[in-house]
Symmetry: C2
Subunit: 457 residues, 2 copies
């Protein structure tokens, strides 16, 4: 291992310079005017992979192309095979005026590299490629085969990735997926994210009179759909912060004492967190810490409310209808369809006969759980420990990452989420940066991970 | 009296023709392109009043002019003096395509005259002018002085009327105001409207986080302002349909058995009313009939709800804020300011500490009550009986008519509301019409009313 780590140390300056080249491409997948830049960026990456010794191709999709690169295959028995996922597309840089330096002209200040895409996600998957370069250039044998899949549509919903994976299933005959695209809870606190929440969306509409009615002439003799909606939705959460829908928690897998202990290790300062959110007081399900509430417990959120008159001043009407957008964040083992059904049933039970109820199911995503005590997780934790020289933490994330479910469904494998982004890296915001210490730690992670994983699996 | 009634009968055809002339003016106060038509319409009315023997003037205001016409004054002792109010402006005619004939080309079909403004309000105040003409042309002595005040801004809020009344207070030294601009509950059911509801408006806003937050990353650890708003507003109405605000009903004057008996005489078909509103079931305060609920009981209505994402599909956020527009309809003796204060206090009591509450007071209007057993009311009922040949009903109306409060406050007098509009007259809608039988009954009312009023007061 030492030659690999030595190589990474020796070539650090060049790696940083190459990352600068990479982030100069304004590869904004959402903006049609950057179509050419997208292609140029993909070509640069494939060319770079080839230069360091991989075979690489820019593969077309219905949208932006996917770069696929393989480490040199050995003849003989099948070796363990892992897929490293990343994305070369970036968020739009707007608003430009908030950037201290132009988003596609990388600027280094101390140990930070400022540029759109530096952290999300170019720097993170380039670190893995650098580690592979170190193996190949030092003649150190990689204990496994690696396939890099770097897509160009992550920031616009990865809409062509599932079809691409289906089509190339044979080529992606892997044992696990590794993604560095999540976050670390703090500097020097490396993390394995082992669970994600799922979600299911519903749209609820209550209709009363056939048109907005004069509240003076008619008000009092018919139900007000906006009031009915408030009373209906208000019953879906109790005063202990729990979702008041029978059966909602039935399939929730309890947090183990081990998991709660791990989550308790995460840094948390209530005052700082409250100020960061801007709320007068925190609120959540009783009996759980804020980290548990936001990452490991299911919720029911109202995302939007619409009814009647919303302009300046007032309009004295009984509105014809009122509607709400709901999403339920789900935890592992909760079935999105079942939850949507339970909430719909509850709404029907509670809805008064004075209005008409309509519930429309929206999109959903399954929660993800990867056993934090599994051999692969333990291997990843050891690699994080070596790479960062710090004891890593186990993290659950409250959001959903649909591609993780795609990998599970299409390739049948689990994903190790080993993110390198810091909370202040400004992903999706002006002045995005990547921490160069995390860049080099990420390279060391890419060096240490494969032997650990191969030994464990 | 007979010569007056005979005259009205003899000249009916001409009166209808003159009403046709009057409604040909597209006097749409809301639309600047009709400024010239507004002035022409006011001139026509003043000229017509002069022709039949009144003195008349088109008086400028900051907006559209007011037509003021006086019956010839007699020398000697002060006689009773009444003000007849009307408005020559009309609602916009749009949408044109829904009219069976052009809105400003009067069409007579059976006993209906179709035109914008026919019923609201040109036909109704013209009937009173026709009655005065009959007095003057037949040499019958009017037992009182009459002043007609016909404004041009009723459909846009009468915003210059109060100032105009202030300015001309001396000229309007009247004993009561008479307005024919309300409705009759049904054909052949003449009505005296003796009470109006008031209102007070509030805007409620709950603010949570300083910006919309990702519901995956943060949801569960902070309150959702939209949910908090639903739970807050939902507590303002109990399951008996009563407003759940302490003190809300304290000042409500109970309906007398006489009033309830009168309201019970009004025609009501639950199925037809429910279908007319388009609701699956009626709903209102327990213990009161629909007529009582909509006309004589106070309410709290949500007029609008706004929060978070309202577009297509879903956006997985905890919205930064949620707001609602409320109006409370009030009944006589409820003080709008006090009610606004009570509701605000209740909101403050109920608001959880997890969100910030902001309540903004909007406009308000006092309720109006004119004793239905007073001599003037009894006189008006007798005149209605004679004019229509049917027993009149006593009506309360759920809406507010701010000018009635203006007359009370500025001139210190009560208003008799003797409306001639039928429920199917389509005021404010396409195919507005005026019933010609009500037009002639209105003229007879204008003939019979003054002797009755003078005798009673």
């Amino acid at each position: 291992m030492n030659p690999v780590l030595d190589y990474l140390r020796q070539h650090e300056a060049r790696f940083i310079s190459e990352l600068c080249d990479y982030v100069r491409f304004p590869s904004v997948s959402a903006q049609p005017q950057h179509q050419v830049d997208m292609r140029a960026c993909a070509d640069w990456l494939a060319q770079h992979a080839r230069q360091i010794g991989l075979t690489a191709e820019v593969c077309p999709t219905a949208g932006h192309p996917v770069v696929v690169a393989h480490t040199p295959r050995q003849t003989g028995a099948r070796r363990p095979h892992f897929l490293v996922y990343g994305h070369y597309d970036v968020q739009p840089p707007e608003p430009f005026e908030l950037w201290k330096s132009p988003p596609f002209e990388p600027r280094i200040e101390g140990r930070s590299l400022f540029a759109r895409g530096a952290c999300d996600n170019k720097g993170q998957h380039l670190a893995h490629l650098n580690a592979v370069e170190a193996y190949l250039k030092t003649g150190t044998e990689l204990p496994c085969d690696l396939t890099f899949v770097v897509e160009g549509e992550e920031e616009v919903g990865s809409s062509n990735l599932a079809a691409f994976l289906q089509q190339h299933r044979a080529e992606f005959d892997v044992d696990a997926v590794v993604i560095s695209d999540t976050g670390m809870p703090a500097r020097n606190l490396p993390a394995l994210t082992y669970a994600l929440r799922g979600l299911t969306a519903l749209e609820v509409k209550l209709t009363g009179p056939s048109r907005d009615l004069h509240s003076g002439i008619f008000g009092g003799s018919l139900d007000n759909p906006a009031m009915a909606l408030c009373q209906l939705l208000g019953q879906l959460r109790d005063r202990h912060g729990r979702v008041a829908v029978p059966g909602f928690y039935d399939d929730v897998v309890k947090l183990t004492p081990f998991e709660r202990k791990q989550l308790a290790r995460l840094p948390f300062n209530e005052t700082a967190y409250r100020k960061f959110l801007g709320v007068p007081r925190l609120f959540g399900e009783e009996g759980y810490t804020a980290w548990e509430q936001r990452a490991a417990r299911p919720t029911l959120e109202i995302n939007g409310l619409t009814s009647g008159y919303q302009g300046e001043g007032s309009k004295t009407i009984v509105p014809a209808w009122a509607s709400a957008k709901l999403t339920m964040r789900l935890v592992p083992n909760q079935d999105p369809r079942r939850i949507a059904r339970l909430v719909t049933q509850r709404l029907k039970q509670l809805c008064p006969p004075t209005v008409r109820l309509e519930v429309k199911a929206g999109h959903d995503a399954e929660a993800y759980l990867f056993s934090p005590t599994s051999p692969a997780a333990q291997a990843a934790l050891r690699a994080l420990q070596t790479a960062f020289g710090r004891e890593p933490v186990l993290l659950r994330e409250g959001g959903s990452i649909p591609i993780v479910t795609d990998f599970k469904k299409i390739l049948g494998v689990d994903t190790l989420l080993l993110g390198l982004a810091l909370p202040d890296d400004n992903a999706h915001s002006p002045n995005e940066k990547f921490d160069l210490d995390n860049f080099t730690a990420g390279m060391r992670l890419g060096a240490c991970l494969w032997p650990e994983l191969v030994a464990a699996c």
